[in-house]
């Protein structure tokens, strides 16, 4: 069997989406988000002691769908307005926080297109990295019943190679992961 498309081969599907039926899921879509703790200031946050860098990666075809959902019609993805709309669309559907009720302020830096993919960048300035992180990711889950979003979080302490992963299916909201 081939899971609907090539992207499904890269993103973990935790169980099979209950709504997509017990067997194979066709037309699955996926967004990959990486969250990394970084120390020190940046050109966009000169006073910061540290921050979470958030990078969302949408494949071109999915980004076109997201753009339509965001009211951007069929304009090309490399148009500035299209990228700004996608950035705002992602902004409204993604969050991180100490807990679901205490979100961190996420600044959306913007979006760019590269190699048939769209990247959306966000940052959350914090003094110290938390030991627990709550994450919400409902990007495009309203569009496809079998959308699965993967979020990889680089642990702030010690070796950056250690990464926690979360998967979000339609209907799923905040999830909390331990970073200690």
């Amino acid at each position: 069997m081939r899971l609907c498309n090539r992207r499904a081969l890269l993103v973990g599907a935790l169980g099979v989406a209950a709504l997509a039926g017990p067997a194979l899921a066709h037309r699955q879509r996926a967004v990959l988000t990486t969250i990394a703790w970084r120390k020190g200031p940046t050109p966009t946050a000169p006073q910061a002691l540290g921050r979470f860098d958030v990078v969302h990666r949408l494949h071109g075809h999915d980004a076109e769908v997201a753009l339509r959902l965001a009211g951007g019609g069929n304009q090309p993805l490399d148009a500035l307005e299209a990228q700004a709309r996608l950035a705002l669309y992602v902004e409204g559907r993604f969050g991180i926080g100490r807990s679901p009720t205490a979100p961190y302020p996420l600044a959306t830096l913007g979006a760019e297109t590269a190699a048939r993919e769209v990247f959306v960048y966000q940052e959350a300035v914090l003094a110290d990295p938390p030991t627990l992180l709550a994450v919400r990711n409902v990007i495009m889950t309203e569009a496809f019943a079998d959308q699965i979003n993967q979020v990889n979080i680089e642990r702030p302490q010690g070796d950056a190679a250690l990464t926690r992963s979360l998967q979000f299916k339609p209907g799923e909201e905040w999830k909390t992961v331990s970073l200690s």
Binding site: M1, R2, L3, C4, N5, R6, A8, L9, L10, V11, G12, A13, L14, G15, V16, A18, L19, G21, P22, A23, L24, H26, R27, L32, T34, A36, T42, T44, D53, V55, H59, H61, L80, E81, A84, R85, L88, G92, L109, G110, E112, A115, R116, F119, Y121, E123, A145, N152, A161, L162, T163, R164, S165, K169, P170, G171, E172, E173, K175, T176
Partner: protein
């Protein structure tokens, strides 16, 4: 004092215990930090026996069961139902006597009483009122499953003489009690009659069903897991009758099929096997075209798009029966519709058993113009490539049927595939995206590839997803690279190594060696990670010649037989002569990842020990390391004379000589050193001095856990480059940090580790010496204020326009009190 020390020791122990559970493990020790990444696998694999040898071959007494089927089935289009009767002849080749046999009734998964149905989870994560959700798709699916009774209605189970046999249905399985003991080598024939309603696949989700095209009210049927099939009985697990839960696929026996399929007269049928009665079901024109297609250089239409469009408007009430025969297959599927366009192209191969294969595709006009261009070509391409690396395609037909818009499913000789074009909303024209194009080529290669693995190399899919999906994804990748350079094989990335690292670095995953229904991350775990592992073996660890020979040997040994994981691991080593236990252990049994680094490089030259040579050289080095002071140069420029210059009588021995001046004491000590050297030591030193080589101490670090070879690219000071791969065995004593000594005739300017991305190294920033600045993408974006500001302005403008989002959920309201049952 003693108390305090004890307490400190205890608390340190307690912390250790929470970090790493202190269990005895032959790989990782409870004390000390030796990790035996090269521990042999033999102790963990099942013991070799008469059925499976220690070298990975079928043993002297290898056996497998056999099941032959003769089936009559009718498609009732009005009722969306099939009615069938089969005679299954079961041959007991096992050394055991059987009292009953188990039969798989996969359609029962759609019965509302099935384990799968009753254990479906609600959509609310994390649990709690706030997350309760019901989508339109979910609600429509509930209605679809409520409106129609799904599952097998078993109408008859008898022996050859027509005597009813006792049977009991257990979820998706049925036990049939035999009228007499079935001894080894004996046969029995059982007749089963049944009816079952066909699911609307698009609503309910599954591997088969029907698709409804709403605009034209036309239908396409694709039937799989449609008849009662005997469960596998094996030497390693007995009856494989684990209930079908939807994900762990199928384990089946080989046998011959003779199937008569009765469908509406305007339908075209695509099926496992070869058509036996073309004169009854095809027009003379179609039969002529089919004969011509045998020698066609490109796919030829058997049913043209115009004819298919006319067909689908015709609502025939007559019926026709298509008869197909398939030899030595483990399953049988078919598709039927009055919408089918049909194209075909012959494929000839150098194989005495199957010299000719007819490659064919069947698709509705909704799949055009994509399908006629690529589907059949991809079928032929798959056979060309897979046959090189395994065995000749073993069946007379190879078919690709369009049954949906994404994904695919495999059966012997027939595959159900996705990817369709879209209608451009502006122009109204039908176009296809790049994604749909490569999605189609990729899925056809994948599914036709499955006819080799697992339809011919018959691994146990319910147990081990990677044995068919992983091996097949590996060869699919090879075939995609041979289709065109830069083929976007993995989520738009051509190189599998650039794609799988993100998954492998995560902590929330299971090893590849995990039973199919318990895998976390089904796609990357069962498909991509094993395929990446085999690619590393082929291109970096074993080399193509040894890998290809061993992989072909595995395919040959287990063609039409049933291999287990150990048979694969053992054969790959047995045929190549390479110990790969460390690789299977790391890549298949753990969740470690690849993260290698060059942590330091130190350069040396061999010292001659002769003070007359070494000391001047040291002086030069010293001068290069510590340049003259700026102040001195400026003093000179300003005309300042030093005191010693003004009073030369202040000079003495030390003004004429520095610490690099050779003294007689140095020369005497050199002589006595030389005299202290043995003859062979002197010869070695002389040679080193003559060759004047550079010596490098290169430190490597293994941060990810997986031990891997070290592919190095060395760039010399003169610009020349050399490549060398150090085998993984370099890690056998210390698996986390090693130092390698390297000699060079000329100075080395830089060393790069895995410069060609042969491995999924998850952090390449530390793969260079000297270190390269490797900015993250987001940092590069931050460093471009002009773009950032334009973007910020655009976002501000859009924010002020602010639009309301539309909800897509079914509105839920709390139930009124009267809805609560009275007590």
């Amino acid at each position: 004092m003693i108390h305090i020390a004890w307490r400190a020791a205890l608390s340190a122990l307690a912390i250790f215990a929470t970090v790493a559970p202190a269990y005895a493990d032959a790989v990782e020790q409870t004390k000390g930090n030796f990790k035996d990444k090269f521990r042999q696998l033999e102790v963990d694999l099942p013991s070799p026996n008469v059925y499976r040898t220690a070298s990975g071959e079928p043993g002297a007494q290898y056996w497998q069961q056999r099941a032959d089927y003769t089936i009559k089935v009718r498609l009732d289009e009005a009722q969306k139902r099939i009615i069938g009767e089969e005679v299954m002849t079961y041959t007991n080749n096992s050394p055991d006597t059987l009292r009953y046999i188990w039969v798989q009734l996969d359609q029962n998964i759609f019965d509302n009483r099935s384990i799968a149905r009753r254990t479906e989870l609600a959509a609310n994560q994390p649990p709690g009122r706030a997350a309760d959700r019901l989508t339109f798709g979910g609600l429509a699916r509930e209605y679809a499953l409520r409106d129609v009774d799904y599952g097998f209605d078993i109408t008859k189970v008898t022996d050859a003489r027509g005597k009813a046999l006792a049977h009991i249905v257990v979820d998706t399985m049925m036990r049939i009690d035999l009228p007499a003991l079935l001894a080894p080598k004996a046969k029995t024939a059982i007749t089963i009659g049944w009816g079952s309603n066909i699911i609307e696949e698009d609503r309910i989700g599954g591997r088969s069903g029907y698709e409804r095209f709403r605009d034209s009210d036309t239908y396409l049927y694709f039937l799989a897991q449609w008849h009662p099939r005997v469960a596998a009985y094996t030497d390693y697990t007995g009856w494989q009758h684990k209930a079908f839960l939807g994900r762990g696929e199928f384990t089946l026996e080989f046998g011959d099929y003779d199937v008569a399929i009765t469908v509406p007269a305007d339908h075209i049928v695509s099926s496992t096997g070869e058509l036996q009665n073309p004169q009854d079901v095809l027009s003379a024109e179609q039969r002529t075209r089919l004969a011509q297609a045998r020698d066609a250089k490109t796919p030829m239409f058997i049913v043209t798009p115009e004819e298919a469009l006319a067909n689908e408007k015709d609502k025939s009430t007559d019926e026709k029966t298509w008869r197909f025969v398939a030899k030595n297959v483990r399953d049988f599927a078919w598709a039927s519709s009055n919408k089918f366009i049909w194209d075909a192209m012959g494929y000839r191969q150098d194989d005495p058993q199957t010299p000719f294969v007819m490659a064919m595709s069947f698709y509705p006009h909704e799949a055009e113009p994509l399908w006629s261009k690529y589907s059949t070509h991809a079928v032929v391409h798959t056979m060309e490539v897979y046959s090189k690396y395994s065995f000749a395609y073993p069946y007379p037909t190879a078919q690709s049927v369009n049954t949906w818009d994404g994904g695919g499913m495999e059966y012997p000789m027939i595959t159900f595939n996705g990817s369709r074009p879209v209608i451009d909303k502006k122009t109204g024209e039908r176009t296809y995206t790049q994604n749909a194009k490569y999605g189609l080529i990729g899925v056809v290669i994948h599914e036709i590839g499955h006819i080799y693995f697992p339809m011919t190399v018959n691994s146990d899919e319910r147990q081990w997803t990677w044995m068919d999906e992983g091996l097949n994804t590996f060869l699919e990748y090879v075939a995609e690279q041979e289709w065109e350079e830069g083929f976007p094989a993995f989520g738009n990335r051509p190189n599998i190594m650039d794609a799988i690292g993100e998954y492998m670095r995560g902590e929330d995953q299971t090893p590849i060696m995990t039973q199919s229904d318990s895998i976390i991350g089904f796609g990357p775990n069962g498909y991509t990670k094993p395929a990446a592992g085999l690619t590393v073996l082929r291109e970096t660890i074993m080399g193509r010649e040894l890998f290809d020979f061993a992989f072909r040997e595995y395919s040959r040994r287990w063609k039409f037989k049933r291999p287990t994981p150990a048979d694969f691991f053992r054969t790959m080593e047995d045929a190549s002569g390479i110990d790969l236990d460390w690789f299977w252990r790391g890549w298949f049994y753990t969740t470690d990842h690849v993260d290698l680094a060059i942590s330091d490089v130190r350069e040396y030259k061999i010292a001659t020990k002769d003070p007359d040579q070494d000391k001047p050289a040291e002086r030069t080095l010293d001068a290069a390391k510590f340049p003259p002071q700026v102040a001195e140069a400026r003093n000179r420029a300003e005309g300042i004379q030093t005191r010693v210059e003004r009073f030369p009588e202040l000079k003495d021995f030390y003004n004429e000589n520095d610490r690099f001046t050779v003294t007689n004491k140095d020369r005497n000590s050199y002589q006595s050193t030389l005299e202290g050297l043995d003859e062979w030591e002197k010869e070695t030193l002389d040679r080193a001095i003559k060759e004047g080589q550079f010596v490098y101490f290169v430190e490597f670090e293994n941060k990810g856990g997986l031990v891997m070879p070290l592919p190095l690219t060395v760039t010399y000071a003169d610009g020349a480059q050399a490549k060398e791969t150090i085998p993984a065995e370099i890690w056998r004593i210390a698996s986390d940090r090693v130092t390698k000594m390297m000699f060079s005739d000329k100075p080395i300017a830089s060393i790069a580790l895995d410069a060609d991305h042969e491995m999924p190294d998850i952090n390449r920033a530390d793969n260079h010496f000297p270190r390269r600045i490797d900015s993250a993408r987001i940092d590069l974006f931050r460093q471009r204020p002009e773009i950032r500001n334009l973007m910020a302005d655009a976002m501000t403008k859009l924010r002020s326009e602010e639009k309301k989002e539309e909800g897509k959920d079914v509105p839920l309201a709390p139930a009124p009190p009267t809805a609560t049952p009275q007590q």
